[in-house]
Amino acid sequence: MIAQKPYERSRRRSFFIDKTLLYLFSYDVEVDMDRQNIGFVPGGVLFNIKGRDNLSRAYHVLRERTVPGLGVAAITGAIVGGGDTVFWREDDMEFSVVRLSIATDDGETIHGQYPVVGYLGQGVFRRLVSGKGKVGKESDPVDIPVITTPRFDTASATYSWINDLACVGYGRVRVVRSEFRRISYDIYAIT
């Protein structure tokens, strides 16, 4: 191993670059039970799900009309046309690619697309796919934590502020009887 020279070490930072998370909005997607099971593909299984348009909503958790910290209009509306290609990997990881649109209550459209990463839990892949030992009950659903890094895009002047933001979402996928029932996210801007 080659020893580092002292001046090379001193050039490296010993502190983190500043960052903050600014809460923007949340949404809950009620999942359509009629999913498209593609089946086994190399490394896991693949299926498509979509949201139920008339039941899925975007909202501000504190019911604010503006986003504190930005002073811009808060986002409230319906989630429409949500489509999600989900890959359950054999090592109990979940990866998916999502596209959805938010039809805001004032008649604008915001597009969002994002990758999702989540850990299903030890041995859960096999339970979900085999159908034996169902995951989650109606009375005791299982919430799987997921992380996403969405980007949003809109033609609306009211919400154009969201076009320029890098976002992160912390979510939960509610599973009942091995079926995705609800997907919820809190979306933050990374500033």
Partner: protein, 246 residues
């Protein structure tokens, strides 16, 4: 390989910082195989196969099948093991957010699901129904004159403004790149939801190659209302020639 046709519901979103957005929903369509076209395209490959079959046993066997194409009763459910059994089915769903760039070029990046028709196999059991995930991407030059030889291309911004004002071409021709994803054999412990359909093996070559599509779209008042495309497999027959420096 096969052809796909679908009606499309499109609606304008508006101008974003990247261009003009149009939402597209594939509202349903059909998938079919034109056997005449399939056979003709394979027969074009005969000279290359003849050369390679001299040393390649697998190709020699395939050639033996190809030579008797005219006699083979190509129809769904045939037991004869052949490269491609055709695909008859429907387009179940799909969507895209079309972006019309300010240089007069549209970007497509669609996700579409196809489904094979269900049928009864020779043993009398219900079969078929395989789902196929399709990724479809392309760029489309929206300036499509009747006679490119005599008409000069206007600046991209002019084409862009024309499409924004719903004055674009009534039809579009374009090519696209396609990739497919579908199930392989399921694990023996898989539950009913993830059991492979009995016919999945017929399409096992689909995820192993690149494909191109030759497409045409109908347009009304600047919005796409339907699309039809033929899907072709891309196969390199000859190895690339080695490039040597001078």
């Amino acid at each position: 390989m096969f052809s796909v046709g679908s009606t499309i519901a499109a609606h304008r979103i508006g101008e974003t910082s990247e261009g003009y957005r149009v939402d597209i929903d594939y509202t349903g369509g059909h998938v079919t195989t034109d056997w005449k076209m399939y056979k003709e395209s394979w027969q074009e490959l005969f000279p290359a196969y003849l050369r390679e079959a001299k040393t390649d046993e697998a190709k020699r066997k395939k050639l033996a099948v190809l030579r008797s194409l005219d006699e083979l009763p190509f129809k769904k459910g045939d037991d004869a093991r052949f490269d491609w059994y055709g695909l008859e089915g429907k387009l179940v769903s799909g969507s895209d957010w079309l972006l019309i760039r300010s240089d007069g070029v549209a970007e497509l990046d669609s996700r579409v699901t196809l489904q094979e028709d269900e049928f009864t196999d020779s043993g009398g059991k219900a079969a078929g129904g395989a789902l196929i995930n399709t990724e479809l991407g392309t760029v489309v030059d929206l300036w499509q004159p009747k006679d490119p030889a005599t008409e000069r291309r206007p600046p991209g911004s002019v084409v862009y403004e024309a499409w924004k004002a719903s004055k674009g071409s009534p039809a579009l021709r374009f090519t696209m790149a396609l990739r497919f994803n579908l199930a392989e054999a399921s694990q023996p412990w898989a539950g009913a939801d993830f059991k492979s359909t009995g016919s999945f093996w017929k399409y096992e070559s689909l995820p192993r190659y690149d494909y191109v599509g030759n497409a045409k779209a109908t347009v009304e008042r600047g919005l796409i209302t339907g699309v039809y495309f033929d899907v072709w497999r891309v196969e390199a027959l000859d190895p690339p020639k080695e490039v040597t420096g001078s």
